[in-house]
Symmetry: C2
Subunit: 211 residues, 2 copies
């Protein structure tokens, strides 16, 4: 597999989302021009991005929506089931566990864990919230690949390191910290407050332009 | 103000977070070398990024932590209060409203709204959840600048367009869609499932390297 730039990888899920909508609307094929207008990116960008994976388009025909959807899904690893748990079962953890769309995409959220005794035992779509003490044995026996960390920053790195020892391969990290784990460990960060700061940067920039 | 690249803007909140931690730990000054090791970016990257805003460092002294923290905060628009509401008061909306850190940063979440009658009236840290029908009058009289959209994709664009008419300036969009609003409207997207797909892309890539 050739080395694909991060920027391209970040754009793939958006192609996937648009193709899914086209598919849902019964569209069977689309030209790169139409896709480009719909997605508000240039047609040459689309061709370049998809050429990283061998193209998929046919001159004079455009793209076969369903085929391209399946192929991008496969590139994104969505053709396999991914077993996941959520560590930290507060509102955010529960929001993630309840997000039905994940299920449709092959993300199987097997259980939620928390250290808060008011939450442990509470029923959710994904079974009762379990005690964090049980998480290490659980990931070993249940073959868990991905852990969503929806917990405060303090325990995040320590818990992540222990989970790595139990066979976890990737973290979807919502804790307000950079996990200090070895470089080869897959970490995808969602730093919510940082995204909100990008928004206020733009607000602040806009108000200065207006002056 | 000169034109700052998106990549730089995306890195600023992370500087802010590290400087906040240094400050909390009583560190008064730091060299770009130490900051670079801590943040795992090159010292020249740090210097380049900060030079966009006039530098801040002094040869042989490094950076004054508190001063740099305040300056970056000000660049990010965090020196002002931002009045916000949350539209969609499910788990995700409530998670955002409950995130205490936002308050500390000047984000004032004034109210939550929902269309679900099982949620309307429910008490939260930010008052009772209000009926979505009231949101348009509310944003006019309460001078709301930012709206967090934590709702399904279907009504998102329509609600956003109406809120724009009522004076809202920016959207923090969690709906699984690109809002179709005019180009000059500030939209910061958090597409959770897309970030999870970037993670599985990397998992899939890693498993192929292993073969």
């Amino acid at each position: 597999m050739k080395n694909i730039s991060n920027a391209v990888i970040k754009r793939l899920p958006r192609y996937y989302r648009y193709l899914d909508e086209l598919r849902a609307n019964g569209v069977e094929r689309i030209s790169s021009g139409d896709l480009s207008r719909m997605m508000n990116v240039t047609a040459s960008q689309i061709r370049q991005d998809l050429n990283n994976f061998g193209g998929f388009g046919q001159q004079g025909y455009g793209y076969n929506v369903n085929y391209l959807f399946e192929e991008i899904g496969s590139i994104l690893g969505l053709d396999k089931e991914h077993r996941m748990i959520v560590v930290g079962a507060g509102n955010l953890g529960q929001a993630i566990a309840n997000y039905a769309n994940f299920d449709k995409r092959g993300f199987k959220i097997v259980a939620l864990f928390d250290s808060n005794h008011e939450l442990i035992g509470k029923k959710t779509r994904n079974g009762e919230i379990k005690d964090i003490e049980e998480v290490y044995d659980f990931v070993k026996t249940e073959n868990i690949e991905i852990v969503a960390l929806t917990l405060p920053k303090e325990p995040a790195t320590e818990i992540a390191m222990k989970l790595l020892d139990c066979g976890v391969k990737a973290f979807w990290n919502f804790a307000h910290t950079d996990l200090e784990v070895p470089d080869n460990v897959i970490v995808e960060n969602v730093h919510l407050s940082e995204s909100l700061m990008e928004l206020t940067y733009k607000l602040s920039e806009q108000s200065q332009v207006g002056k």
